[in-house]
Point group: C2
Chain length 356, copies 2
Amino acid sequence: MKKHNFSAGPCILPQEVFQQASEAVLNFNNIDLSLIEISHRSTDFVAVMENARSLVKELLGVPEGYSVLFLQGGASLEFLMVPYNLMKEGGKAAYLDTGTWANKAIKEASLLGDAVVVESSKNKNYNYIPKEYKIPTDVDYFHCTSNNTIYGTQMKEFPATPSLMVCDMSSDIFSKKVNVADFDLIYAGAQKNMGPAGTTLVIVKDEVLGKTNRTIPTMLDYTTHIKKDSMFNTPPVFPVYVSMLTLEWLKKNGGVQWIEKVNKDKADLLYGEIDRNPLFTGTAAVEDRSNMNVTFLLNDSSLEGEFNQMWQAAGCNGLKGHRSVGGYRASMYNALPLESVQVLVDVMQELERKAL
Amino acid sequence: MKKHNFSAGPCILPQEVFQQASEAVLNFNNIDLSLIEISHRSTDFVAVMENARSLVKELLGVPEGYSVLFLQGGASLEFLMVPYNLMKEGGKAAYLDTGTWANKAIKEASLLGDAVVVESSKNKNYNYIPKEYKIPTDVDYFHCTSNNTIYGTQMKEFPATPSLMVCDMSSDIFSKKVNVADFDLIYAGAQKNMGPAGTTLVIVKDEVLGKTNRTIPTMLDYTTHIKKDSMFNTPPVFPVYVSMLTLEWLKKNGGVQWIEKVNKDKADLLYGEIDRNPLFTGTAAVEDRSNMNVTFLLNDSSLEGEFNQMWQAAGCNGLKGHRSVGGYRASMYNALPLESVQVLVDVMQELERKAL
């Protein structure tokens, strides 16, 4: 039985992508070689990298003057690369603190300069997105996290900034339309809506680079990778290939416009049930609820054992909440079908009938 | 027809590994989920990471007091992490210059301190390994590259050092016995003898860390990864899994002792033919010839077209030499069977019969 996979990441990808990736590991492009045994400089793999990069540009409508890179190290390495590339010597950057990942980004920036926290939602365990704050005019950039997987919050709007605009979109990129021209740098670990773990997407406006007066180590310098078309050193071949397949799937089905609607339908269905069903309570502020990660509590914790048994029996997977929030978390990334959300909602309703 | 894959890397892995990896992408451990859609914190994946790390320890006889890590970024990122972690503020390190990769390592170390080149074989296009050199006593570490894929040279012995000993073993780790206790830090990109591109092995003696007085960025600090059992952030799931499978294959067949003999047989066969066949000349100094990458020239370049056609028709792949050396390069990593080398030797002999 195929599972209903609500895992927070790495997470579900389209079934046809698993099929294609599995075949490529045995025989890639009918060249009688495995995808993972060919040179990354071979025509076949160079075409994969180029296709992956153009799909990103096409699906997100990336304007001219931006470069698209597939790097390694996860968003965690980007936390360091961003200040290295954008924060001037003795410079300053503004950060919005919306949780764990924002904090990790702030920590790395503090090693290289002054990382000013413009606002934080820590006072309420990050269950909302701060909205009233001022970004200082003398910072090199403003940094925010568009979606917070742990707390189930998502930025619905982005502030106007007097500085460069940087966003960690690891957990909601490709889930909805975004105006790339509003950003100078976007980064995202692949392992939510784009592909398997092991590669990191970077979209950067070329003209903002090379202005810090810093000596940047080779691998941490975005220009190193831009000059070599994202192939400065051996790229993570399999993760890039599977990302390409996933982006092809997205394009074929109608792109970001299509998936935004699907994701809204899934979110409406589950949040609707949480709000209606007297057994459950959502943990995030209603106006900041994430369409990707739905965090909720069972009001009567004595029902947990039964609920867990029921959703597991229904084939659901990955619903345990993060320890910082507790309760449950249903991650509903692009590849999760509406049908899986319906299965979970049915279980919630069945629990209600049993319990009340 | 299955190819005889002499690719320099990423490169051939065991056929049974392709089969197992392909199946895991569809259904991992019979859990009805793909390997690449499960959480890296799941029991199933944690077991993979632990197994991969213990196989490294077992196969190489890693002593107590060393940590084994699977990181990202390739050897290129290690070129930076090594000085960050081992070179004191205002410190000095000694490097042996045996080619392109050594040079890249030297460049990154120079950003953080004084990188002294103790000797170089650049004068002869790196076709030999320097042997007469003195390592200064006041350096923090000595760094060398055990095998040079481009030039087909390999260190058969390692010098005694008055300092810490660091080695980039990207292209010959697991190909022969090595006394890990002689080294303080060993690193290697996976994509030769260990697995697919996308992960980097690090073996480090714990007691040498934390002594530089430097502020090390989180992701570049080996202690970050040691404390979290190589799972500080989402690891490259698929590359680590396939590395585990490849190490299991090596263990099952007799380990490093077994493969060292196989690799010697392959090297004897091909170098024997190069030395015997009047059409060919090896490019590396005989005493420094690599058992992994065999570089050779066709003496009469007018035969190249015919030779290329012949080995391609015989199912060989990846024999074109690197542009820095020209001619041909046969990479014979662990998973390449002796039979494939015999096919190449047969083609060389057939060319001789035709040409003479």
